[in-house]
């Protein structure tokens, strides 16, 4: 009994260290994926909860960070698959806590542009260009073929360029 409690406390400590180290990065990925600050917090918390629930498996994974990212993306795609009766306007809550040196105008423009993309296209873009995953790694994480990832990347990038065209001069100095 005492051993069990000690092990649980140790697991909790390990998890908290991991979450402290990776939580902010996961949140930023979630924010790019969903475009809503509150929802990004919810997705991050849900992903971390699932990671904690399976901590024994996660900590022994080849890359716990990659595992966490995969859980987050699955949470996001699963969330998008729910029968959504209604949604908040995408930009209703942005940005509530502007951080120093952040670029709120850019954030709003980018998240609005990303919001126009289908969820999987958005996930492809975020994994490829934010998480620096290769085509093959992205394909594995999203359970797609590499060819599909390439097609989705091209399509999503084209649409993103189109969406951002009016602001492009200010976005890319």
């Amino acid at each position: 009994m005492v051993v069990g409690r000690r092990r649980a406390a140790e697991e909790r400590r390990e998890f908290e260290e991991f979450a402290q180290a990776r939580g902010t990065a996961l949140f930023r990925t979630a924010l790019l994926l969903c475009g809503d600050w509150h929802l990004a917090e919810d997705l991050t918390q849900t992903a971390l909860a699932r990671i904690y629930a399976s901590w024994g498996r996660v900590k022994n994974a080849e890359s716990p960070a990659a595992y966490a990212r995969a859980v987050l993306v699955r949470c996001y795609l699963s969330h998008r698959r729910l029968r959504r009766s209604t949604e908040l306007p995408v930009l209703a809550d942005l940005p509530e806590l502007p951080a120093p040196d952040s670029d709120p105008a850019l954030r709003v423009a980018l998240l609005a542009a990303l919001a126009q993309l289908p969820p999987k296209d958005r996930a492809v873009l975020v994994l490829r260009y934010w998480e620096d995953r290769s085509v093959e790694q992205t394909a594995t994480e999203l359970q797609l073929t590499p060819g599909t990832v390439r097609v989705r990347t091209l399509r999503a990038l084209t649409r993103l360029r189109r969406q951002l065209a009016p602001q492009l001069d200010t976005l890319v100095p």
Binding site: F15, E16, A19, Q20, G23, T24, F27, R28, L31, L32, W37, H38, E41, T44, Q45, T46, L48, A49, R50, I51, Y52, A53, S54, V71, C75, R81, L82, R83, R84, S85, T86, E87, L88, P89, D93, P95, E96, L97, A99, P100, D101, S102, D103, L106, R107, L110, L125, V126, Y129, L157, T158, L160, R161, R162, L164, A165, P166, L168, D169, V172
Partner: protein
């Protein structure tokens, strides 16, 4: 014949202008690279949720083990006359479990008592019944708001899993489950933002066994706030929690696991930038304990709610007027 040059599309210009693949990452970086969440609250919440997931898994495993044991005993009794003596003795040594749902019987032991199942809604919801929908949950929430608050933006999501379907991931599988979230932003009469009120409803959770007493025991306690958890005389378990977050936002949570296996988690969060929760903890507890929260409702109520709420529009009283609208579709 003069040739007419096509008007260049804006995105053609963008393509020519750039945003090459190499420039996407810096744009992402500038947009969200400095976004910082309230990590402490996220981690504490995640640990609590994760612990609840573990408890649910354990309860599910216990239930499966007991069901298999029950089947084994039943099969053993049927085969008993034909079995040789040694096998009969082995079967006789198994604990005698009551039929599922029969409650604790003499000799049933703790396993039999622990798996007394919660009555589940029928997967097909016979008659004019349907699983609670997001809009219907939002309407219930609106009906329970204090008169001095009005609601604006809202969100409602529903997810129900039929027999054998997966209701989520990471082993969250159940026979029939309803999961609904309703969230409204609330404002004072003068339009001042007062924050959010959110209700999660989950049905078909593990029965009220020893685990909830532990899960609702306020461990860990909030660092900056208060928590009380205790059984309620009607057989429910209830935890009332207040957190004063580092960003100045106060949050009340009333977490109720009813005896019928329905869990209601009501949260009242103060406005971004800091402030008290929009309603008192006592009021939130009453909201969570309202009998209005039911996982299965009349089909008419679901259709009416879908007609009253329109996506992407605010929820001021003027916009709740019934308007023809299709019920929400999947996807």
């Amino acid at each position: 014949m003069p040739s007419i040059a096509p008007e260049p599309e804006p995105w053609d210009a963008a393509e020519r202008r750039g945003l090459s693949e190499d420039e996407v990452r810096p744009v992402f970086e500038r947009a969200v690279g400095e976004a910082v969440p309230d990590l402490g609250a996220l981690i504490a919440g995640a640990a609590e949720q994760g612990r609840a997931i573990r408890l649910r898994r354990r309860a599910a495993v216990l239930g499966t083990v007991a069901a298999v044991a029950g089947l084994a005993v039943g099969a053993g009794l049927l085969l008993r006359p034909a079995m040789p003596g040694g096998a009969t003795a082995a079967v006789s040594a198994l604990p005698v479990l009551p039929p599922l749902g029969a409650g604790t019987a003499a000799g049933a032991g703790t396993v039999g008592a622990a798996v007394e199942p919660t009555p589940l809604p029928s997967p097909s919801y016979p008659g004019e019944k349907v699983a609670l929908t997001g809009p219907a949950a939002v309407m219930v929430l609106l009906s329970l708001l204090p008169a001095d608050l009005r609601a604006s933006e809202y969100a409602g999501q529903d997810e129900s899993a039929g027999q054998g379907e997966s209701a989520g991931q990471e082993g969250e599988r159940s026979a029939t489950r309803v999961v609904v979230v309703a969230r409204v932003r609330v404002r004072a009469a003068d339009g001042t933002d007062r924050g959010w009120i959110e209700v999660h409803l989950q049905s078909a959770l593990a029965p009220a066994v020893s685990a909830p007493a532990d899960a609702y025991g306020c461990t860990p306690r909030p660092k900056n706030g208060s928590c009380t958890g205790a059984p309620v005389p009607d057989g429910s378990f209830r935890q009332l929690r207040t957190d004063h977050r580092a960003d100045g936002v106060s949050e009340h949570t009333a977490d109720l696991l009813r005896a019928d296996g329905v869990r209601i988690i009501a949260t009242a969060t103060g406005p971004a930038g800091g402030g008290p929760a929009p309603i008192t903890l006592d009021r939130l507890a009453k909201l969570a304990q309202s009998p209005g929260w039911q996982p299965v409702i009349d089909r008419d109520a679901a259709v009416a709610a879908a007609a009253k709420l329109r996506p992407y529009q605010s929820l001021g009283s003027a916009t709740i007027a019934p308007t023809p609208s299709r019920p929400p579709s999947g996807g």
